[in-house]
């Protein structure tokens, strides 16, 4: 690939039933590009968890996926409440998910740890009251 491929998604904040569509779309695109299944799985997990977090915790946002010859970068930006204590949020099992969301199967407090585990590099930039941007890289 000579030029980077860029895909942009807008994630709606109030629709649980559509959450995951952006991740599915990226997964299908990577499949069509013939990428290694293991890489596709890592991208699918990391992006889905980020996408769901935007819906549950931040009232939606935008996702940009940049694909170059040797890297897939996912930038998830929201203007939600922000994360006060990022170290705490990164702990396995820590969750502020409300009851109605837990009833759907979310709230194990494993999303951010999964994103960290399945990406090769992750950065969280968050300001309370302003929003959160999560950047993840997965090397090809």
């Amino acid at each position: 690939m000579d030029e980077n491929l860029v895909f942009n998604y807008t994630i709606s904040g109030d629709d649980f039933t559509r959450a995951g569509e952006a991740s599915s779309d990226v997964k299908n695109k990577l499949k069509m590009m013939g990428l290694d299944n293991n890489i596709i799985r890592k991208v699918a997990i990391a992006m889905y968890e980020g996408e769901i977090n935007m819906v549950i915790h931040a009232n939606g946002g935008t996702i940009t996926v940049e694909i170059s010859a040797d890297n897939i970068r996912m930038i998830l930006a929201d203007t939600g409440p922000g994360i006060a204590d990022i170290d705490k949020a990164m702990e396995q099992g820590y969750s502020t998910a409300p009851e109605e969301v837990r009833a759907l199967g979310f709230g194990a407090g494993m999303g951010l740890p999964n994103m960290k585990k399945y990406s090769d590099h992750m950065e969280i930039d968050s300001t309370v009251g302003i929003g959160t941007t999560v950047t993840m890289d997965i090397h090809i």
Partner: protein, 109 residues
Amino acid sequence: MTIQTLIDAGIFSLKVTGDPSKNISKVFCCDLLSIAMSKAPAEGAWVTVMGNKNTLAVASLTDISCIILAEGIQLLPDDLACAEREGITVFTTDLPIFDAALKIQELFA
């Protein structure tokens, strides 16, 4: 074993056929989606009581072969249509999770 083996065994009721020729690699039980997301084996048969569109999204992203909804849990018509579109095989059963998983495991023998 394939999904067809599971269909022919007649232990669960088939709600969405999907692709019966798909392989089943192993049985997997989990009701928390972010744990399932990272642990679900590719081509697994996933037994769960969590029946909603998010279950389908996780199944499709992790390349699960089929979902078995235990404890009499049913998908809403809208979600069934979604599973049809995505080609995800869905079974239901009144059995508890463990018993349902054991029945599948026994078919591997």
